[in-house]
């Protein structure tokens, strides 16, 4: 199995960091330190090396270190089975984010082809009980992990839908204009649904018969209301037929943006939202691990995993199972937790990084095997 990992990570004026540097060797990285030390900031920096706004979904202006607010920069050296890449991501103060790959300016979407990554953050703990939007985002990140071009389909669909929604709100009645936008939405929407279905099938296959300490989750797509519409022709027809109702609502009520992801705890036959807090978390971890196994099979290397405060919520057995599975996968997992002892089970199999809050900046300290 090949390897995909961040070998070097440099931060400059990013969030609580002034200047920081890490050299990594591809083993899982256990990041520990007190509340507010800068652990999540560190893995957020890694998450920005994929298309989108990162694991906090932060607006660009939040990323620059306060109080200077000068602009920020993230630099990484990525090892992948094919070759190493140098990625730079930065923004001048107030200006939009820019990306450079191997010294050449590149669109943000190009990052999806270099670094695949999956993440779990505490905000997702309520994924199964809150609104469909969060689950849809989870689903689309899963789809994007298998098919980076999924991001472009989503952007195209959303742009055309925003245009259509504006027509609806302004009560425009030009049928040809609606038709033209609906054709874009149907074309991109059908691709979105194919990618989502494929992702679910890949994750289901990776769960079947896997030796894992985590419970299997059965996933299904459902419409928030009405029927699921998937094919290009069907989508175009449904959008055209829904114009009257959409005009009344002032927005588009059918399509891939109205899809929900349903999950069941397979062995118990219980909907995820009715599971205990710990079971819900275990289902999420199980899905992320299955997604990672499927990706490893497809790409010949496992993706990066960013697991914010995952260890703290698991009992000792589950924690040990998680560590074993990450190591078996060979993934560079970035794990955070407040205490080093949470990661004792990893021993020599991981690299340890201590994050400290000094007077006005976060500091990183790599801890060698014998230290501490």
């Amino acid at each position: 199995m090949g390897r995909l990992f961040v070998r070097e990570l440099g931060l400059s004026h990013f969030r609580s960091y002034r200047l920081a540097r890490l050299e990594l060797d591809g083993r899982p990285v256990a990041i520990f330190g007190a509340n507010g030390a800068g652990k999540t900031n560190l893995i957020e920096a890694v998450s920005l090396l994929s298309p989108g706004r990162g694991l906090r979904r932060a607006p660009g202006g939040d990323l620059a270190r306060r109080p200077e607010a000068l602009g920020w920069k993230i630099q990484v050296l990525v090892e992948s089975p094919a070759r190493a890449h140098e990625v730079e991501l930065w923004a001048e103060s107030g200006a939009p984010r820019q990306t450079r790959i191997d010294g050449k300016a590149a669109p943000q979407l190009a990052l999806g082809r270099i670094l695949r990554m999956l993440w779990l953050v505490p905000a997702m703990d309520r994924l199964w009980i809150e609104g469909a939007e969060g689950r849809r985002r989870f689903l689309d990140r899963m789809a994007m992990s298998f098919a980076p071009e999924h991001a472009q389909a989503v952007l195209t669909y959303e742009k055309a839908m925003r245009e259509r929604n504006r027509l609806l709100r302004e009560q425009v009645r030009d049928a040809a204009w609606y038709g033209a936008l609906e054709a874009r939405m149907a074309e991109a929407g059908a691709r979105i649904m194919v990618n989502r279905r494929r992702a679910l099938a890949r994750v289901a296959a990776a769960q079947a018969g896997a030796a894992t300490g985590f419970p299997a989750a059965l996933l299904a797509l459902a419409a928030v209301e009405g029927d699921l519409v998937e094919g290009e022709r069907e989508l175009a027809e449904a959008l055209a037929a829904g114009r009257g109702r959409d005009l009344a609502a002032g927005r588009t009520l059918t399509g891939p943006h109205r899809v929900d992801l349903e999950a069941r705890y397979a062995d118990k036959g219980v909907a995820a939202r009715q599971c205990s807090t710990g079971e819900q978390k275990a289902l999420l971890i199980s899905l992320v691990l299955a997604n990672a196994r499927a990706l490893a099979e497809d790409l010949g290397a496992p993706p990066l995993l960013l697991l914010d405060e995952v260890a703290a919520h698991l009992d000792a057995d589950r924690r040990a199972a998680l560590f074993d599975e990450i190591c078996a996968l060979g993934a560079q997992a970035f794990l955070t937790g407040t205490g080093r002892e949470l990661f004792d089970g990893l021993g020599e199999r991981a690299q340890f990084v201590e994050v400290e809050e000094s007077s006005d900046a976060s500091l990183l300290r790599c801890i060698g095997a014998g230290d501490g």
Partner: protein, 198 residues
């Protein structure tokens, strides 16, 4: 500050508003012109004045020219029955530079965008429909950018012209969001030859 300095500063400020120029390059350009006053600056001023007086839109196609009707619309040789629809004049000029197209043009003046408040009436789509009936057009070639707005506009026009004329679009060798004006001549020619029916 002397009056001359003020005038020069004002000139630099205007120049800096030109696309591709910033304050630094505008300053350099103005200095250079002053050094070559007779050779460059006076003729430039004269040329600017002439174009300012005479530049106008071709009433037929929307090209920028100095007469009511541009050379392309006036030339019988260009009456091939093929009409190439572009977003703006820069695209028309890029097509002409490539020299790959022998017919006439129609400049839309933008793309449909509800979010930017641009509707069919704001573009020259009604005029396009009139030209198709009046000018013996046999094929309308849509050379719009491969953006969502470009594709929406192409679809809209194809719908409006349906059953009246053959409508084709440039082959998408054109990168997403890549504008015609930035393509090299060979790419434009190839995209034109490989056009397909909508």
């Amino acid at each position: 500050m002397g009056e001359a300095t003020r005038d020069i500063e004002a000139l630099i400020e205007i120049m800096a508003k030109l696309p591709g120029l910033g304050p630094r390059s505008a300053r350099r350009a103005v200095l250079h012109m002053i050094k070559k006053r007779a050779l460059l600056m006076a003729p430039l001023a004269e040329a600017l004045q002439r174009v300012a007086d005479s530049a106008r839109q071709c009433l037929t196609c929307g090209n920028i020219c100095t007469a009511e009707i541009c050379d392309i619309c006036a030339s019988d040789k260009r009456a091939t029955g093929e009409l190439c629809v572009v977003e703006d004049v820069a695209d028309l000029w890029a097509m002409e530079r490539a020299g790959a197209f022998g017919g006439r043009y129609h400049v839309l003046g933008g793309t449909l965008s509800a979010l930017d408040g641009i509707g069919p009436e704001d573009l020259s789509i009604p005029r396009l429909c009139r030209r198709v009936s009046e000018e013996n057009i046999t094929e309308v070639i849509l050379a719009l950018n491969a953006t969502v707005d470009g594709a929406t506009t192409a679809h809209y026009i194809a719908e409006e012209l349906e059953g009246r004329v053959r409508v084709t679009s440039l082959a998408q060798g054109v990168p997403i969001g890549g504008e015609l004006d930035y393509l090299d001549d060979g790419t434009i020619g190839a995209a034109l030859r490989a056009r397909k029916a909508l």
